[in-house]
């Protein structure tokens, strides 16, 4: 049990984005239906409300190691348009984990929307593991669930950030923007997994500036588009120094869905080494047959392939 007196339906929604009641202690922030609901700080991590804008500042002291910070958002009332700015100031030589995410439960007729703008300022030689999960659930004929997360990442010399982002159910419309700016020997690894169905639309845009010497990035996007859904993937990696960049967009397309991938790499230094890969296709027939020869039905085989692909 938590000491926050959170209702069971809210806890259930939190669990859908990988946040449990016991995670809401120490340094955390919970936002519900467009307003701050509860927050806490720890000796090394201070979370405070912004004075001029909706949202919070998260300040992590130099040398903080092993701390896990949860900052979930849930919307349980239809028609809410939530805009929030969360700024992370992470000191030097830290090694921390941040779990964010947004869950929308929309049973009304109006659209619900959450636009989260997260800015990360990562100090020298710090390591940050950041995960976010976006999840929605609607009743039939209810309004749309809209999420437009923006993530802006600035990594100082020797810093490292790993971002793992998942949206596999119930988000009707999303434009996801991620921008990275890397200093010397800084590394940014992004893994994105998306599944859309029905008439959903997902657009994802990555822009990474490899400004520092020996900086590097690896962007991996795996997605599945089903039914009438549409997806657009855009990546733009700029190698401005001796650096390495690798982007991969891999999509499975099914039914009447459509997927576009627009990967762009630009080398502005002769020492920049950049690769992009993009592959879109239906599930290979031989993959289905292989699993069917092991006793799965065609539907079971399809589910297994999709779940594995975006797990």
């Amino acid at each position: 049990m938590n000491g926050l007196n959170i209702s069971s339906d809210k806890l259930s929604m939190l669990s859908k984005i990988n946040v449990m009641a016991e995670n809401l202690t120490g340094a955390f922030s919970l936002r519900v239906d467009g307003s701050p609901y509860a927050k806490g700080s720890s000796p090394n991590v201070t979370i405070s409300a912004k004075k001029d804008l909706p949202g919070i500042d998260i300040r992590v002291k130099d040398g903080t190691v092993g701390e896990k910070i949860h900052i979930p958002v849930i919307l349980t009332q239809s028609g809410i348009k939530d805009l929030v700015y969360n700024d992370f100031y992470i000191g030097e030589n830290c090694d921390i984990e941040i779990v964010a995410g947004c869950g929308i439960h929309n049973h009304g007729h109006e659209d619900s929307a959450h636009d989260g703008i997260h800015s990360f300022h990562i100090g020298k030689n710090s390591r940050v593991y950041y995960s976010e999960k976006h999840y929605g659930e609607n009743a039939p004929e209810s309004g749309k669930n809209i999420m437009n997360p923006t993530t802006i990442i600035d990594i100082a010399e020797g810093g490292y950030m790993e971002m793992d982002t998942v949206q596999i159910q119930g988000v009707d419309n999303t434009i996801r923007t991620t921008k990275g700016k890397l200093g010397d020997k800084a590394t940014l690894k992004i893994t994105e997994r998306i599944m859309t169905d029905g008439d959903q639309y997902a657009e994802t845009r990555f822009e990474v500036d490899l400004d520092g010497e020996e900086s590097g990035t690896h962007v991996i996007s795996r997605s599945v588009a089903r039914e009438n859904s549409k997806q657009l993937y855009v990546s733009n990696v700029n190698g401005n120094n001796k650096c390495s960049g690798h982007t991969e967009c891999d999509a499975i397309i099914m039914d009447a869905a459509s997927v576009s991938a627009v990967p762009k790499i630009s080398a502005n230094s002769t020492d920049a080494s950049l690769i992009h890969e993009a592959a879109i296709g239906k599930i290979a027939g031989e993959q289905l047959i292989k699993l069917m020869t092991l006793g799965l039905t065609e539907k079971e085989a399809e589910d297994k392939i999709i779940n594995g692909f975006i797990q």
């Binding site: 795996r222 891999d250 290979a284 031989e286 993959q287 047959i289 292989k290 699993l291 069917m292 020869t293 092991l294 006793g295 799965l296 039905t297 065609e298 297994k304 392939i305 779940n307 594995g308 692909f309 975006i310 797990q311």
Partner: protein
């Protein structure tokens, strides 16, 4: 016992691949051999249900498989190890062996199957079956998967291809242990002399028909002498 009656396959373009095949398989180890293009792999895929024959029937232990789907045949006791194993992004070695076994396996159980094919389980169990695995590694995982299924009939399409670093003797031991477990038939499509020598029954296909069926003492000398004009038998 596998019984194939009057089985033919003609491509949509009208090319005859198999022509009136009649065959009974009731031995432990049966090899299907023949030149390239003789219809070996097509016959195996028809038995597994991957290709639909133009005519004919197939029964396994009295159960008519002819109109069954790939899944139904798999559940009725047919296993098929592909010549070119399929790669999957996101499905691990542990996943595929568990699917084959039809239940979630413990780490120890899965490791046992991998050890059978000479792979160090610890290094492989959580790896994805993707481009990072070599052809030889995939082939051995494919054999481990067939072992995990252990059904009444297992068909291997050229199991020896690409496993050079692993010995034939080890491969044959796997077949023997598989038989101990299943008491069923193991059908191996192969050009490899040592696999043919190990088999109790050899079926020689040529131009889509059965050119000869017999024990190794009947068939092998002819293959070696070239009497049956089978140019592939000496291929290593």
């Amino acid at each position: 016992m596998l019984e194939i009656k009057n089985l033919s396959y003609v491509t949509p373009e009208g090319k005859i691949i198999l022509d009136d095949i009649n065959l009974t398989v009731d031995k432990k180890f049966v090899a299907i051999t023949g030149p390239n293009g003789s219809g070996k792999s097509t016959l195996a895929k028809i038995i597994a249900g991957i290709i639909t024959p133009t005519k004919g029937s197939i029964t396994l232990d009295g159960v008519d498989l002819t109109n069954m789907s790939v899944t139904e045949r798999a559940r009725s006791g047919v296993s098929f190890a592909f010549q070119q194993p399929v790669r999957f992004k996101g499905i691990t070695v542990m996943d595929i062996i568990s699917i084959a076994a039809g239940r979630e396996l413990s780490l120890d159980e899965a490791c046992e199957y991998l050890s059978e094919v000479g792979l160090c389980a610890r290094d492989y169990i959580n790896r994805e079956i993707n481009e990072s695995l070599s052809g030889g590694e995939l082939k051995r995982i494919e054999i481990a998967t067939a072992f995990a299924r252990s059904t009444k009939l297992t068909i291997f399409d050229e199991p020896e291809a690409g496993i050079d670093l692993w010995s034939f003797q080890s491969l044959i031991k796997v077949f023997e242990r598989m038989y101990e477990k299943t008491n069923g038939s193991i059908m191996i499509i192969s050009h490899q002399e040592r696999i043919l020598s190990f088999s109790e029954q050899i079926i020689l296909l040529k131009g889509g028909t059965i050119a000869a069926v017999g024990g190794k003492s009947d068939i092998l000398p002819h293959l070696m002498n070239g009497d049956l004009k089978f140019e592939c038998a000496r291929r290593a």
